[in-house]
């Protein structure tokens, strides 16, 4: 089993030689907007959009230049400068994998920038919002374009910072501030794993550059440890079990943030990390790869179950995001055969989930920022464009035949069934649940009776918001077919991630595929019975044990609390007790002892000169005696 990864060629000149501009544009935008502050209030959002679009333009040009090379020359390294002398040379790696990400980030990112002009038009801090968005785009591009782990890590932390700033953008809401803090803290756990993994890579292989690491064929304990540590990092960033708890709370941020960062791009960084390191630390059939697949399968089920019970439309979508990234992780744990589908699903998911989130944002925009789906209902006539685009996204995510999700998700499921049957069939089950909860969302929002409050006046959003929606829904419609049919994406990515032994052919009538379709149909029908035909109560019913279980995020927070927070509190209390009684006891006791003895000793100072004189005379006498004894005078 040999993976065919092309050698990296040094590159100068051309657009690829200027690819650092991709990062520089949004960075300059963020710098200008943050440093010049209020002076840029009037045109700041336009600058942000322009910088994002410029970055997109560079990415497109670089893509076409890259395609111009032969297949084996499509990994181009651009050396920038010596970062840490003797250790890390900072450079960019333009290869099929990174350019795919760059196109997704800048493309979807630009659309969301444009959408945000409308969505944030009433917010007085819109300029700051765009500064953070630009900062995020720059950091995310650095993450995917860097040709070494250090650059990746800097980008990794940069997107973490941007994520923190944007989740807490409305920091006057305590819930938003807490959510931002939670995301930051949970991500630190993952970052710890990534950092230690990098240390191990450096001590073991003496390099952190992707180009200098050698692909491995068999696993040894060191690479397994590195793989698991990198997986921990990926779990933190991509909200996979067991570090999933922050993503649902992250929906406190503005909706474009949820769409860009917490659906389309940043949360997929973990998938990128696994795929990028795949040849080095996650070879096909290794324990590390299996761990990735198991985490993915577990998360896709957990996310789907959580999605079923949420009445908050954004939290439902967040659960769905967890679930879909679980699919990608599952694919990434299957070796080169799964990489293409994982990346493919990542790209199509980037489109249709951004579409769904922005659609949800559009609904909220028209509903006074109401997020409870039980207060929606019957909106399809009032918001026709939003409904149409949302519905296309919905069909794409449940895997309706011939739409994007159908190709990419079924690709993952079929590969999984082929390689890891148990996990594969779990993925099929997850697809069925996806069919249920997404249908529930659509039915509760756009069908049935209107249940909204009296002061809500649902209306269609302005065109600055609907046009991005339409573009995204186009991607949701056809991108999957384009990428998967005749293995376009797989062949394109092969130089970067390796090529499976036999090329998969897409079967429209495979057993898992049909089973998936059947389960999705059952799920959708069940949802129609419960939420489409029947009346939806506008107050949340108590629900069964299972519903409560899902509503409480599968008790993830409770688990964290009992496993980490309470022992931590006990430890703290123990330390405080020890500090109060032990340390303070010693210190205070010492002080009290010295103080007490001094208090008694100071009585010697009577103030009577004659007493002092007496002690002097006694001292002189004693000295004379001592001299007599010693000196024998």
């Amino acid at each position: 089993m040999e993976s065919h990864i092309a050698e990296i060629a040094q590159h100068t000149g051309g657009v690829i030689g200027l690819s650092w501009l991709m990062i520089a544009f949004p960075l300059v935008g963020a710098f200008v907007l943050l440093v010049f502050g209020r002076f840029t209030n009037r045109w700041g959002h336009l600058l942000g959009v322009a910088m994002s679009l410029a970055s997109f333009a560079v990415a497109v040009l670089a893509f076409f230049e890259l395609v111009g090379f032969g297949e084996e020359q499509r990994r181009r390294a651009v050396h920038l400068y010596e970062f840490i002398p003797g250790m890390v040379d900072m450079g960019l790696l333009i290869d099929p994998l990174s350019i795919s990400f760059a196109l997704l980030i800048t493309g979807v990112g630009s659309l969301i920038h444009i959408y945000s002009i409308g969505y944030m038009s009433h917010d007085e801090h819109r300029r700051r919002f765009f500064a953070y968005l630009n900062l995020f785009v720059a950091a995310m591009l650095l993450l995917v374009l860097a040709d070494n782990y250090v650059g990746l890590f800097i980008g990794w932390e940069g997107v973490g910072l941007a994520s923190y700033l944007l989740i807490g953008f409305w920091q006057f809401k305590p819930s938003a501030a807490v959510a931002a803090k939670k995301a930051f803290v949970v991500n630190r756990v993952g970052d710890f794993g990534l950092l230690v993994g990098m240390f191990l890579i450096w001590t073991t292989f003496g390099t952190l550059a992707f180009g200098e690491l050698q692909p491995i064929t068999s696993e040894n304990p060191t690479t397994l440890a590195i793989g698991l540590l990198l997986l921990l990092g990926a779990c933190g960033k991509s909200a996979q079990l067991p570090l999933q708890s922050w993503l649902l709370d992250a929906m406190e941020g503005p909706t474009p943030v949820s769409a860009l960062i917490h659906a389309a791009t940043m949360v997929t960084a973990g998938v990128y990390l696994v795929v990028r390191s795949g040849a080095f630390f996650f070879p096909e059939g290794s324990g590390a790869a299996l761990a990735v697949a198991i985490v993915g399968a577990a998360t896709l089920l957990a996310g789907a179950i959580i999605g079923c019970a949420k009445d908050d439309i954004k939290k439902g979508l967040a659960g769905s995001t967890m679930s879909q990234i679980g699919y990608m992780m599952l694919g990434a744990g299957l070796g080169p055969a799964g990489y293409a589908f994982a990346i493919g699903h990542l790209i199509t998911h980037g489109f249709f989930k951004a579409d769904l989130f922005l659609g949800a944002g559009s609904v909220m925009h028209g509903m006074n920022d109401e997020v409870d789906m039980r207060k929606y209902g019957g909106l399809r006539k009032l918001m026709p464009i939003t409904f149409a685009t949302f519905f296309i996204g919905y069909l794409a995510i449940i895997g309706f035949p011939l739409l994007s999700g159908y190709f990419t998700k079924d690709g993952i499921i079929e590969t999984a069934v082929h390689h890891q049957p148990i996990l594969g069939w779990l993925a099929v089950l997850g697809a069925g649940i996806t069919g249920f909860y997404m249908s529930r969302m659509v039915f509760m929002t756009f069908f049935g009776q209107k249940r909204w409050a009296d002061d809500a006046h649902p209306h269609e959003s302005p065109s600055v918001m609907t046009i991005p929606l339409m573009i995204l829904s186009l991607g949701a419609l056809g991108l999957g077919a384009y990428l998967v049919l005749s293995n376009r994406l797989l062949l394109f990515l092969a130089p970067a991630v390796g090529r499976p032994e036999e090329l998969p052919a897409f079967h429209f009538t495979s057993t898992p595929g049909l089973a998936t379709l059947a389960l999705v149909a059952v799920g959708a029908a069940f949802a129609w019975m419960r939420y489409g035909r029947a009346e939806v109560p506008s107050v949340q019913p108590r629900g069964s044990f299972l519903t409560t279980f899902a509503r409480r995020d599968l008790y993830g927070d409770a688990l964290n609390e009992s496993l980490f927070m309470r022992p931590g509190q006990w430890l703290t209390r123990l330390a405080v007790y020890f500090d109060n009684r032990g340390i303070d006891g010693i210190v205070n006791g010492l002080a009290a002892g010295i103080g007490g003895s001094s208090g008694r000793l100071r009585r010697i100072q009577t103030g009577f000169a004659r007493t002092y004189a007496l002690s002097i005379l006694i001292g002189a006498a004693l000295l004379t005696g001592a001299l007599l004894l010693v000196g024998n005078i």
Binding site: R603, T606, G607, F608, A609, R610, A613, L614
Partner: protein, 98 residues
């Protein structure tokens, strides 16, 4: 004879020291200090003759000069204290204590 002189000197010194310790009148205490200085001078003069060197007498001379200066300042201080406290007892000036 040297031994006799020296023992007389030590005796006078000890009596002076005892007076300093026992008496409370600052002026008498001062006189006792002078007695101790004189005892020292006697020892200096005795040793001067014993070793055949004039320097002992020179030192005794300087002791007298310094004693004169000391008496002048010391008595001025006693007068000042007496003026404010109406007392020449060394035990009354005991505010500087614990």
């Amino acid at each position: 004879m040297t031994t006799h002189y020296l023992i007389l000197s030590g005796l006078l010194f000890a009596i002076g020291a005892m007076g300093v310790l026992i008496r409370r009148n600052a002026i008498v205490v001062f006189m006792c200090v002078e007695l101790m200085l004189n005892a020292c001078n006697l020892a200096f003069v005795t040793f001067s003759r014993q070793v055949g060197n004039l320097e002992g007498q020179i030192i005794a001379f300087f002791v007298m000069v310094v004693a004169a200066a000391e008496v002048v300042v010391g008595l001025a201080i006693i007068v000042t204290i007496f003026r404010t406290r109406r007392s020449a007892s060394v035990d009354d000036a005991n505010l500087l204590k614990y």
